[in-house]
């Protein structure tokens, strides 16, 4: 799964959003969004509170399906070229390929091992050696293996906040998804844990396509390759991070970056 040089030259969009409108019942949350998420790159979604960045993130793995009145009213979302709202799409398979990490760490009240193995178990994996191997690989990716290898069967809730969040990342990547969605993964963490997770994201980008929602612009600068700025449900600007932060094309982006509104 290491980065393929040919793929880097012409990276196909892993996730593509086309002209999408999204509504919660009668109120429209997203307006005409079009976005291409590049293969093995970190894409950050920024914007003021309530701009729809989390909603956009949740459109990619259809987590919004659980809200009864929420639906895509126009356009489409493609993951690896397939419209995820097609009738023949299996939701469990989609979510296996699009992992997600939440704002607040949410490990299950089970052992560390069981937390990481959960995703594989629910997709029918029973072979102990496969599970062992996956747990070790995922924890290593999440930079937890060295810390936790001696107490894999301890309860995950006994870990510190930062460790819990990295465990959640390990859990999300255990099924080897193509895309990893992160919804403000550091907002509930202290600076040192935040730093560790940001370092981790660079590592993860070698193997996964990462989409991260953050309200912290410095974080977006530090971790992402591309940044999308949303405002009031509209995608204002989408550009390589450096470009967007140093030379924004839109006035609104500039105003937001200067802190005129938040």
């Amino acid at each position: 799964m290491s980065a393929d040089p040919t793929a880097q030259s012409t990276p196909p969009p892993v996730v593509q959003v086309r002209d999408m409108d999204f509504c919660y019942g009668a109120s429209q949350a997203l307006f005409d969004i079009s976005l291409k998420v590049k293969y093995h790159r970190v894409t950050a979604l920024i914007g003021p509170s309530g701009c729809g960045k989390s909603t956009l993130l949740r459109c990619i793995n259809r987590m919004n399906d659980r809200v009864p009145s929420a639906r895509v009213t126009k356009g489409e979302v493609l993951v690896k070229g397939k419209n995820i709202h097609d009738a023949d799409v299996d939701l469990t398979q989609l979510r296996k390929q699009v992992g997600m990490v939440f704002q607040k760490s949410n490990p299950f009240p089970k052992s560390i091992y069981e937390n990481v193995a959960y995703g594989l178990r629910i997709h029918g994996e029973k072979n102990k050696s496969v599970l062992d191997e996956a747990v070790e690989r995922s924890l290593t990716h999440a930079a937890l293996w060295e810390e936790l290898k001696d107490r894999l069967h301890a309860n995950a809730l006994a870990l510190s906040g930062g460790q819990q969040q990295r465990l959640c990342i390990a859990r999300a990547i255990a099924t080897v998804p193509d895309v990893l969605l992160m919804d403000e993964p550091c907002s509930a963490l202290d600076p040192i844990s935040t730093l560790k997770i940001e370092e981790l994201m660079h590592q993860l980008a070698h193997e996964f396509t990462v989409v991260i929602v953050t309200h912290n612009m410095q974080q977006a600068v530090r971790v992402s390759d591309y940044t999308a700025f949303l405002h009031l449900g509209k995608l204002i600007e989408f550009a390589p991070t450096e470009e967007l932060f140093t030379n924004p094309r839109e006035k609104l982006t500039e105003a937001y970056l200067r802190g005129t509104f938040s």
Binding site: M63, Q93, R95, F102, I122, N155, A158
Partner: protein, 662 residues
Amino acid sequence: MFSTAGFCLISGEQASRRMNSLPTPSRPPLRSVLLRSRKRTILGLDPQKLIKYFFGSNASVAIIVLVLIMVFLLREGIDFLPTYQRELQTYRRAGLEFCDIIDKPLQRNQALSSSLRQAVGASLETLSKQARDRRDAAFLLKRQVEDKSARPRESLRQALEKTPPAPDQIEVLRAELAVASTAAAKALKYPAFFSAAEVEQMQREFSALTPEVTDLPPLLLILVEEFTVKDREARTQFAELVTAQEEFEEAAEPLQEVLDELKAKALETKEKAVEFEVLEINRQRLLEAAATETDPKEKASLTKEAEESVSEAVNLEESIKEITGRTAELREQVEKYAVVIEKAAAVLPKDAGTGAARKMVNEVREKIPEHAREMRAASATLEDWRWDKPVSIFRVIGAFFFGTQWITNSSWQDFYGFVPLLTGSLVIAAIAILIATPVSVVAAIYTNQFASEREKELIKPVIEFIQAIPSVVLGFIGISLVGDLIKDFSEWSWLQWVPGFPIQERLNMFNAGCLLAFMAVPTMFSLSEDALNNVPRAYIDASDALGATKLQTVFRVIVPAGISGILSAILLGLGRVVGETMVVLLVAGNRIAIPDFSAGPGVIFQPAHTLTGIIAQELGEVSRGSSHWQALFMVGIVLFAISLLVNWCARAVARRFEPHKA
């Protein structure tokens, strides 16, 4: 938390900024701001504190009442042990215990001979069954004819008794009766084992039945004779078995005679012993009075009076000597009995009659030597028995907690053994919990996770409404409906594989368990549902995001996370079931005996009594302060302790498995 604090800081800052911009109002000097302002007081107390005390005292009332209940229960119940000790002491002193040493094992004689009698009956039946059936059927048919023609028969009988007789009327009535009898005899259904000729004869004879003839019709006489012959034949064929059974039954008679004499004597002695006890207490009082009396004359008279009452004790010893003096005779009788029954066992034919009879006989044959050994062992212990050996308090405690008999108002001796009641309560509670747990937990999972809003609105109030049904109404349903249902089911041929079917008693532990399960469901359902509801939303998010199906999320994440609450709900349900009274009192059958666990799982269809039921049933009828009254309070104390323990466990479990609050 942090965000709130941050917000406060900012707003504070803003406020101060705003204040700076406004013209500064005149401020009071700093000292007076910091001093406590004078407030109104009530009885010298700050009203805030008064309100606090008021609320606090209301909360503590519950605790105080609980403590008072414990104190009261203990005060009434704790005297039970010394009282029961005195009673057991009397039981020993009067020689009742001595008699029971032989009497208790001897009671097995009855059980064994009743099995033998059944075996004999079954064996005889192999030969005489048809003859008996024919006889019984013919008698039944005759009764049916008589019943159907009852009215003309009665009129005729009255007419015949009338003086002077009216021959015309009698003739008319006779004709009427003949018509009615003939019609009834024609309409009867005759069993196949009667030949056509016999049926015809019967019809003829039944049609001719008249009230003044009391002799049996000739055919019936023939059938009776037929049976007698067959029975005699059978008895000669199974002569060995019949004699063995008779010998076995008679073997106990001489021993029983001696024992009955001794028992009568013991009862007499017991009366004396009770009297002696009263005198003894009286003497103690007199001596105490004498000790404090200052007037020497009075003192002397009191002491003398006290000494006079001692002589009774000697009498008691004499009475007991009369009983123990016959130890040798009693032992001799026991030995004779043992020899006779062993001989009877030896001559019991190996293969007697039908399969069922053979099985019973073989069982008895095995048990008789055991019984004989038991009798001999009991007889040996007679020698070591001492009437004046004191009963230790540990024995009394053992006799209560491990006693297998709860016998009250007995002419012989009352025993307060706790085990029959406890087993009844536990078996019923176990049945109830086994039924209620799956139902309520599954219902809770469904309601919490799968039901639509409309279903929830229906299910939850309906289940919670069950709690509002008065338990006496449920008991009524148990008696009138569930008992009959279980009995009917138990007679269905395709359900005969169920152990214990067909059942004997409509009111039994299973019936009570079903109703208690029904009563426990609302508690267990509501608490389980709460437990599932309290599972953090974030777990479900995480599971969904990993691609789990609804069922996987429910069974791999939600239920394991809520398991502590579910277990605690089950335990609280158990607490409710153990403490429930009315239903078990009405439905459990109230037989004070340890259920016969040798019946296997079918034991649940036996009646039993319970800890709660016995208190409710007996407390109203015993005299206050008697040993029986105190025993019931002891039961109450144990019940209270069990409830406390169960509730404590429920709390401990809830804490132990509460991972998401760690």
